[in-house]
Amino acid sequence: MSLELKNVGRTFADKQAVRDVSFTAKQGEIIGLLGTSGCGKSTILRAISGLDSEYDGEIAVNGKVTRDIQEEVGFIFQEPRLFPWLTVLDNVTFGLKGSKSEKEKLGKAYLENVGLNDSAHLFPKQLSGGMAQRVAIARALVTSPEILLLDEPFSALDAFTKMQLQDLLLNIWKTYQSTIVIVTHDIDEATYLCDRIIILRGQPGKIDKEIGISEPRPRARGSMLLADIKTEILESLGLNRTEVLVK
């Protein structure tokens, strides 16, 4: 499914959070959103998902302009948002339909994928921060959505787990040809995953730069091209003059 944003903006009670955001994502494209804290990344994802319909501008899904919640959208929120009264497994299977045993089988498979097969019976209050985040990831991925909106999905994870899950995400993307918009603060992650990186800046946030990455997948995490792009991004964020930062 394709996505098209035209001049999207959002104002909360007199305060503009983000303005004039336009971009298109083709079916199967992975788009990265980067930007300083509070510049409106989550706001944009919420607008795309339809959870927030009070934005300005237009969003078209598969060419159709709409403000409703889309079928086949998966959303990994910035917080885990688990249901405290459900076990880990029930949280994962929450959005699934079908017979109980089928759901459980699928749920368990995804729990295995995120490395939580031992924790299926736990309640959210018994999880560590990263575990909770992984449950949320499994819950969103298990429905194999055609559009995936990810809001800093891996930020609470250690480097090792993070890489595993990035690859899990790419696997799913390959299988279902999902269109993905991912918000991240990790530039390595962005360069490893995305076809295009959109950098937002300012308050209210607006698009500052768009960087395309044409390197085919699977990408090597240490590749020179990605390193170059990282430098470009860091520069555009004003971050390569390291000395300045050291007081």
Binding site: F75, F77, F94, G95
Partner: protein
């Protein structure tokens, strides 16, 4: 061989540990009951002593032993079980009725703005009408049979359940509801799968409040031509100026009300085990 032994011993320890856990649990239960009764027992003692010393006149506040005698007397002539049984039945039936209506109406009002604007103001107004005031209206509408009594109790149960339900729904975290919306739940599913469980703590409080009110409304209900029941017993005691009967009915109300509440409390503890509560000091 060594390994085997250690395994056996570990199995034994585990067995022992789980047994000890059970013991601890049981002894904690006993402790709970003992602690919970201390104050009641002290009060009863003081009351008994003051009565014996005739500080309380017996024609107004007979000693607990006398009241107990009355209750035993009722038990012996067999009418006690009739009183308790019929009243408990009425309260439970009314409880089910009132709760059912409150859940349906509460979900609507909690979920749809329009439903709130339409229904809530009137319901809130009815909420402050005393039970006694309903009596003539119920007699008029429904006569004096069981349905009328049960409905009357249902009215009492309805209000706190409704109120807690609605406020519980209002308090549900938007974040969780959004998860449901993203998963394309329809309104009904949103209510049953997210809003109800999330507002469960408040709802259960409403149930307990409602049950209490059910017991209170029994008196008014049993003014409608009942010849059995705890409420009847109370009014009879007042009409025949028999403080033993009044106190006997009060104590029965307290004890049986407490028992039913205790059941709800257990349900509450089970249903809310997922809450991330602080362990109390």
């Amino acid at each position: 061989m060594e390994k085997l032994e250690s395994e056996v011993s570990s199995v034994l320890t585990k067995d022992y540990a789980s047994k000890r856990k059970q013991q601890i649990k049981r002894s904690k239960n006993v402790e709970n009951i003992v602690l919970g009764s201390i104050i009641s027992i002290i009060l009863l003692f003081v009351w008994e002593i003051l009565s014996r010393l005739e500080v309380f006149p017996s024609y107004m506040l007979p000693a607990p032993s006398v009241v107990l005698g009355t209750i035993i007397g009722l038990g012996q002539d067999g009418s006690l079980w009739g009183h308790i049984g019929i009243t408990t039945y009425r309260v439970l039936a009314g409880f089910v009725l009132g709760t059912a209506v409150a859940v349906v109406l509460g979900s609507f009002v909690g979920f749809y703005q329009k439903a709130e604007q339409l229904f809530d103001p009137m319901i809130q107004a009815f909420r402050s009408i005393p039970s006694l005031a309903w009596v003539p209206l119920f007699i008029l509408w429904m006569g004096i049979g069981e349905p009328s009594k049960i409905t009357m109790i249902g009215v009492g149960v309805f209000f706190p359940v409704y109120l807690n339900m609605v406020s519980g729904i209002f308090g549900v975290d938007r974040k969780l509801i959004e998860v449901g919306k993203i998963n394309k739940l329809n309104s009904f599913q949103l209510v049953t799968r997210i809003i109800l469980p999330a507002s469960l703590p408040s709802f259960l409080t409403g149930l307990r409040s409602g049950l209490g009110l059910g017991w209170m409304f029994v008196v008014a209900a049993e003014l409608m031509g009942a010849s059995q029941g705890l409420g009847y017993l109370l009014v009879l005691g007042q009409n025949t100026l028999s403080p033993e009967t009044i106190l006997a009915s009060i104590i029965l109300f307290a004890v049986i009300g407490k028992l039913t509440d205790w059941i709800l409390k257990i349900v509450e503890a089970r249903a809310l085990h997922w809450q991330d509560r602080l362990v109390k000091s």
